[in-house]
Amino acid sequence: MNRITEAFGRRKALIPFVTGGDPDMDVTEKLIYTLADAGADLIEIGVPFSDPIAEGPVILAASDRSLRAGCTADKLFDLVRRVRRRTDIPLLFMTYLNPVFVYGSRRFMENCADAGIDGLIVPDMPWEERAELLDDCAACGVTLVSMLAPTSAERVRRIAAEAAGFLYCVSSLGVTGERREIDHTVAGIVARAREVTDVPCAVGFGISTPAQAGEMAALADGVIVGSAIVRLIAEHGADCLEPVGEFTRGLRAAID
């Protein structure tokens, strides 16, 4: 059993997101330890991209900060290698397709496997185009996570039937970012997915308070929280560890 599946097997999974290299590599490394200590079950590390079309303003700005600070895929692989000396927590890269494609997808996956990345989330690669990475992921033992959206309709069953690791269920239309209210239509998506797969479902996009995290965790097997954490990093810079830790503990408490 791989680390992702194990993590979901223990309890409702809390999956925080940070953009790698924002504000710098050193803080990202410390953030990973902070998040793990504060109750995260898996951690998503965003590979910064110049033009992230699925991101709202908060993560978009983080991506810009990270690139300006000189973050690259190679530096992120090194970061993960360092992190792996201290923690076994499942780590996923959330990356747009182009940085992987241009790096060379086989070489990218080999580095993922070598560094200790468990899975990949690629928001601009829909199920129909998964062949772009699937073989290289499989060859290197990197789990390719599929996404479902409120608009997936009859596609849910097809995508869910082939899912691995977990299903990333997008809570609402639009891009990443905090939302005051989250639609419960995602419950229907999760239910349809569960008809065809035992792979756990995690809900993301818009979850920004412990209350929302609790609500969504009740509907699914895990919750993904990105922009709310990234906003704290933006506000506090190198001093973000404490507020991020505290916020994450609040999420943990609300989910349990």
Partner: protein, 394 residues
């Protein structure tokens, strides 16, 4: 060939949230593209609203001055709204209407596509919102006001380089947030399938007319068809009917800004490499880590770091050639055509004129070049004046 692919290029690399809309659009286009109800209405609009067919004009003075190949100009600048963009938007907005959509959104660079989209939306009673990079709203202030006059809401995009690339990203984000009642009128032969195919089909009227008009004027096909390439819609529209005619050379003129060796250029074919961005696999200006490069051209409409996937395939196969043209050459061509023929071309189109100025003198007098003038240059007058150091503001 696999659906939506041009060789290895094309595809639909977009967030899951947009997949249903893209599949719905693909199905609707397949259904309506050959329905007489649709094709009849579109033909009527193109004729009586857009003013097609556009003229194929023999540039006698230019030809005599250059002393080589005969030069004909395909006058897309004479279309309603002043560019070839109207061909595509009439098709897409009509299709959106058939699909029951009530709102259209679009990106724009120079503003030509935005103006065309706003025009078609006004005509067909659609709500319309346009996304335009802040830098472009400043370069093309008049077009912003023009869109607003037509009833569109213009959003100034302040992310990234604040130009066409960022406007496309912003429009994709907006589409993902409101997809049920909204159609994204993409302005070029780029983005996810079916856009590269659909937009090409709507623009192919340019090349079909060139063929007929050239037969009427000269009783034969031209030797070269040249057009400017940003995303590549007027170029593919001009080329498409000639792809099977191996005797006709196809030349795409891309924006080299300050020169292909200067970082400030937008010459995707000369400097780019294969990547996956904005829904498609194609050539992009990017770094070794796949970060999309900030590009530059005096022409807001060519200031884009990628190119449509069908052009990528035409480059690889060698069926078309792509040449870089600098700002300086484009401005010189802009001046030349204005003074020599009394036609002020869009600065985008001036890139293709510049290639003709370079190539025609070395060709025999019995050779024929067709240059597509994709748009008119009224929108560029202030920017060209500023380029030359004249302090002119709109």
């Amino acid at each position: 060939m696999e659906e939506g692919r041009f060789g290895v290029y094309g595809g639909r690399y977009i967030p899951e949230t947009l997949m249903s809309a893209i599949l719905e659009l693909t199905a609707a286009y397949e259904r309506w593209r050959s329905e007489p109800e649709f094709t009849g209405e579109l033909a009527e609009l193109l004729a009586n609203y857009a003013g097609r067919p556009s003229r194929l004009y023999f540039a006698r003075k230019m030809t005599e001055d250059l002393g080589g190949a005969k030069i004909y100009l395909k006058r897309e600048d004479l279309n309603h709204t002043g560019s070839h963009k109207i061909n595509n938007v009439l098709g897409q907005v009509l299709l959106a209407k058939k699909m029951g959509k009530t709102r259209v959104i679009a990106e724009t660079g120079a503003g030509q596509h935005g103006v065309a989209a706003a025009t078609a939306a006004a005509l067909m009673d659609m709500e319309c919102e346009i996304f335009m990079g802040l830098e472009d709203t400043e370069r093309q202030a008049l077009n912003v006001y023009r869109m607003e006059l037509l009833g569109a809401k213009v959003h100034r995009v302040t992310t990234g380089s604040m130009t066409l690339k960022d406007a496309v990203s912003a429009t994709m984000r907006e589409w993902a947030s409101r997809v049920a009642d909204t159609h994204y009128v993409l302005g070029s032969v780029m983005g996810p399938h079916p856009f590269p195919t659909m937009v090409r089909d709507f623009q192919a009227v340019i090349g079909r007319e060139i063929k007929e008009q050239m037969q009427a004027a000269e009783g034969r096909l031209p030797d070269v068809v040249a057009a400017c390439v940003g995303g590549g819609s007027n170029a593919i529209g001009s080329f498409y009917d000639f792809i099977a005619e191996s005797g006709v050379a196809l030349v795409g003129c891309e924006a080299a800004g300050l020169g292909v060796t200067d970082p400030r250029n937008a010459a995707t074919m000369a400097n780019g490499s294969v990547g996956i961005f904005h829904g498609m696999k194609s050539y992009f200006c990017q770094d070794e880590y796949g970060q999309i490069a900030p590009v530059y051209s005096i022409s807001a409409g060519l200031d884009y770091p990628g190119v449509g996937p069908e052009h990528a395939a035409l480059l690889d196969s060698g069926r078309a050639t792509y040449v870089p043209v600098t700002d300086a050459e484009a401005v010189e061509a802009f001046d030349y055509l204005s003074r020599r023929e009394g036609i002020i071309p869009a600065v985008e189109s001036a890139h293709a004129v510049a290639w003709a100025l370079r190539a025609a003198p070395g060709m025999a007098r019995d050779k024929i070049i067709v240059v597509t003038l994709s748009g008119r240059g009224d929108k560029d007058v202030a920017a060209i004046a500023r380029y030359k150091g004249v302090d002119l503001h709109e």
